[in-house]
């Protein structure tokens, strides 16, 4: 199978430091893939390798079967939106967008017309003659996006483009970027350390940790079926509870906190009896009740802290000195008090096993 963008066996070392180790990735044409991970996890390094600003120590990068090795960034036909937009301060919005066309010898009249069209598409009609410093952060972002798309690149790379925007604008831009990406059908790699951004925008998420791809999959798969402790902890909120596998064949584990637990079927790594693992239960999957519920597995808990968010509340309690977090709907929280003793309950499908 040959996919559109293919990274095979990528390694990148700086002296003794290994920035990337055996990264393999295939991206389909038109796909929106997010590189998600904490800073220093290798996601930006991978992006820079694709863009051609650094060379892999080992491994190959191909677009449509053609190797990018030896091609300068100038010759890769890849559009990039940088974190701080990197707009040219001495050029107007339209001139900024025209620039990549100018470098491709498109005549000014034709180029400026296409620049205006692209500005129109990103919702900036009428702002052509403004200089970057006369534009708001969100508007600058749109210009940068238009500039990265106007020359019909083979690939669009977005390097934490929403980092500098405030929350409302971020959400608005997430929707905008997704809309434009879909409309143009451009294959896109999006780098972020923000998991909600990754969840809401991506076709697939590629989770990076310590220079390796930790997990690659659809957003909901990653959320509901993380394979490692790192992914479970990094994507969404998790209760990570130490446990030991007692009967791998029948999905049984034993934990000090939860007692005997039957976990949901586990894809991925093979588990063996006696193995030390972590059980993951999302806070929103736990139910609080005053009595044990007959149809659910349950454990006792003492409520320590209640944090209200309006539409929901985070209840933090302890069970056998293990901290447990529970999300409850905002309406339910009024009957709870700090210091209450009650029960948490869950079903088999709410529990899954991750290894280190």
């Amino acid at each position: 199978m040959s996919s559109y963008l293919q990274l095979s066996g990528i390694n990148k070392t700086y002296g003794n430091f290994t920035a990337l180790e055996n990264v393999d990735l295939e991206v389909e044409k038109g796909e929106f893939v997010t590189f998600l991970g904490p800073s220093g996890s290798g996601k930006t390094t991978t992006l820079m390798l694709i863009a051609g600003f650094a060379t892999p120590t080992r491994g190959t990068i191909d677009i449509e079967g053609a190797s990018l090795a030896g091609l300068d960034p100038q010759d890769r036909n890849i559009g990039i939106v940088f974190q701080n937009y990197a707009l040219f301060p001495h050029k107007t919005a339209a001139e900024n967008v025209y620039f990549p066309l100018q470098m491709r010898d498109v005549k000014r009249l034709e180029g400026m017309r296409r620049a205006d069209e692209m500005l129109d598409l990103v919702g900036l009609a009428g702002f052509s003659h403004r200089y970057p410093k006369e534009l708001s952060g969100g508007q600058q972002q749109r210009v940068a996006l238009a500039r990265a798309l106007v020359f019909e690149p083979d690939l669009l790379l977005l390097d934490e483009p929403l980092g500098a925007l405030d929350k409302n604008l971020r959400e608005q831009m997430q929707i905008e970027i997704k809309r434009i990406q879909k409309k143009l059908g451009v294959t896109t790699i999006f780098v972020t350390h923000d998991q909600t951004e990754a969840m809401s925008m991506s076709d697939r998420i590629c989770v990076f940790s310590n220079g390796k791809i930790e997990q690659l999959g659809k957003p909901l798969d990653i959320y509901h079926r993380p394979k490692t402790k790192f992914v479970a902890d990094f994507i969404g909120e998790s209760n990570l509870i130490p446990a030991r596998i007692t009967d791998a064949a029948n999905c049984k584990a034993q934990s000090n906190v939860l007692g005997d637990v039957t976990y949901g079927t586990q894809s991925g790594t093979e588990l063996r009896d006696g193995q030390e693992v972590s059980l993951v239960i999302r806070p929103e999957h736990l139910k609080l009740s005053s009595k044990r519920l007959a149809d659910r597995m349950s454990a006792g808990i003492e409520i320590e802290t209640i944090v209200n968010y309006g539409d929901n509340a985070l209840v933090i309690g302890t069970s056998e000195s293990q901290q447990i977090r529970v999300r409850v709907p905002g309406a339910d929280v009024v009957i709870l008090n700090e210091g209450d003793k009650c029960f948490i309950s869950w079903t088999q499908d709410d529990v899954f096993v991750v290894t280190d």
Partner: protein
């Protein structure tokens, strides 16, 4: 109204002005008063009227000297730019250690009295100096005199003024975000087009600053052109010195000084309207 009054005598408001007082007095005594005196002399010596200005604007010699001054200042500015721009580029793109070394060399030369540097050039370029000796060594008999020519005065002035140009351009180059260059590269810009469309416009403010400083300082340069330059290609400052020292023509000298001052202010005014004078010193 009362509140305003009390705030005016508030010591927090008055204190900064008090701190400025010594400087204000100094400037008044040693700058404003002499300047007014010069203005006065230009219309009163030797007799009241605008006769001196008439001479400055109609005398063929004076016009030629002013033109020559402009020509020299332009030439020196262009030479400073040609020398300074690549050096500033090197400094802002090399290792911090090397940049430091170059900076040190430039500032060392900058800190040396320009009178000393002017005399040093006299020794180097003189008829018995090492450069003439070198030219004779490679077989050119009877080389042309280097000293007391436009070449020698321009060379020395470029040497003295280039640091202003270098520092101004360097400080702007240092502030250019490398991501801008990367970004341009990702869009296909390289080499000449990258320089022409991105790098040069981004460094233009530094060039403008440096050029105005060099040009303005050069307009009023006295010692170096007088000591090293050709007597036939005098500059205004030297001519003013001549009028006052040799001919005791205080009125005519003052009138020329006023004209030079006005021209300088016009140059700064044009700069101010485009960039703002507050940016001149970085």
């Amino acid at each position: 109204m009362m509140r305003r009054m009390t705030r005016l005598v508030d010591h927090q408001t008055i204190w900064p002005w008090l701190l400025l007082l010594p400087l204000a007095v100094y400037l008044l005594v040693f700058f404003a008063v002499p300047l007014i005196e010069v203005l006065k002399m230009s219309v009163t010596e030797p007799k009241p009227g605008l006769g001196n200005y008439q001479k400055v604007f109609t005398g063929a010699l004076y016009g030629k000297v002013f033109l020559n001054t402009f020509g020299t200042a332009t030439l020196v500015t262009v030479c400073c730019l040609i020398v300074g721009y690549p050096l500033a580029y090197l400094m802002s793109n090399t290792t911090p250690r090397r940049a430091m070394m170059i900076l040190l060399l430039i500032t060392m030369s900058f800190w040396t009295s320009f009178l000393v540097r002017t005399y040093a050039w006299m020794v180097l370029l003189g008829n018995n100096g090492p450069i003439i000796w070198l030219i004779e060594m490679i077989g050119i008999a009877d080389p042309p005199g280097l000293l007391f020519t436009r070449f020698s005065s321009t060379l020395a002035m470029v040497h003295i003024l280039a640091p202003y140009m270098i520092m101004n351009i360097y400080s702007v180059m240092k502030k250019i975000d490398p991501v801008l260059i990367r970004s341009a590269e990702s869009m296909g810009a390289r080499g000449g087009s990258l320089f022409r469309h991105i790098y040069l416009p981004l460094t233009a403010p530094g060039i403008a600053n440096g050029a105005v400083l060099v040009f303005v300082i050069c307009l009023g340069f006295y010692v170096t052109p007088v000591l090293l330059g050709s007597p036939r290609e005098q500059m205004v400052a030297g001519l003013i010195g001549n009028q006052i020292e040799q001919f005791l023509a205080f009125g005519l000298g003052s009138a020329m000084a006023v004209v030079l001052l006005v021209i300088t202010l016009i140059v700064l005014g044009i700069y101010h309207s485009r960039f703002g004078l507050d940016k001149l010193w970085g």
